[in-house]
Subunit: 140 residues, 2 copies
Amino acid sequence: MLSKKTKYGIKALTYICGHKSDGPIPIATIAEAENISHKFLETILLTLRKGGILASKKGKGGGYYLLKDPNEVFMSDIIRLLSGPIAMVPCVSLNFYEKCDDCPDENTCGINRLMLEVRDSTLKVLKAKSLAQLTLESSK
Amino acid sequence: MLSKKTKYGIKALTYICGHKSDGPIPIATIAEAENISHKFLETILLTLRKGGILASKKGKGGGYYLLKDPNEVFMSDIIRLLSGPIAMVPCVSLNFYEKCDDCPDENTCGINRLMLEVRDSTLKVLKAKSLAQLTLESSK
DNA sequence: TGCATTCCCTACTATTTCGATAGGGTTAAT
DNA sequence: ATTAACCCTATCGAAATAGTAGGGAATGCA
């Protein structure tokens, strides 16, 4: 299941993307519009900024804005930043690989192969959807 | 991420499937072979029995055995039993549907549509792999 | 300069989930 | 009767998740 952190993050990004002509958007505006606790959202946006997707402007008139072209921000990037690995077992993760402690040999592990397939098919979907696309669909 | 419960469950099923000519397999045998805590495995097998995949025989010489044809037990069934929904948001779950508390309208929700696609592609993979197939691959 | 606005950052807390254990009860073979 | 095996519920500790607290720093404007 998607964590609320991730879900809120996606919603916030969608909001920012849909209002990007307004200049920097304050946390408070997003929090109110999307019904997210201000403080919780603050930590989420911080993560997205450190992850290079958002940038911020301090002080009066400040807020958050997109650092990257929304056509180049993919759902897989966002989810990885906020939830970590997309794979269902660490031993098939591309970005967070780790050996499974309970598995003697990956090459003969049926779970490994199955989850590799799952990862690939999931990634195919998540990489094919950009923030720009999602934003468009959400405003319909 | 797959929980250990699910992972252990799959491993246990694979073991039982690979030794089904031996008659009922005691928990202790599986626990030792797959390096799983006996007691923990006990609760997992109980779930699988209640879910209709396994059956058990009590008393001396007892143990667990497959109730269904391993060609008819799919990975999606096992994972649903042990981990719950396959979908990443409740509002696109086929077997565990629930309205997202924070989403005003599913029809205009971009996350909903995206996660629907993810669910479909994941399910396609998980439904295509039966316990029999996994068991074969694991023994290679 | 002073003040309001807004982000920055760390730490903390409450709740839930996960992994595992405990322990006694029931069933069946010999 | 004894022993091997499953049955079932409760509980516990650790980790993850969701959310809170609170002060600090930068910026814009009067």
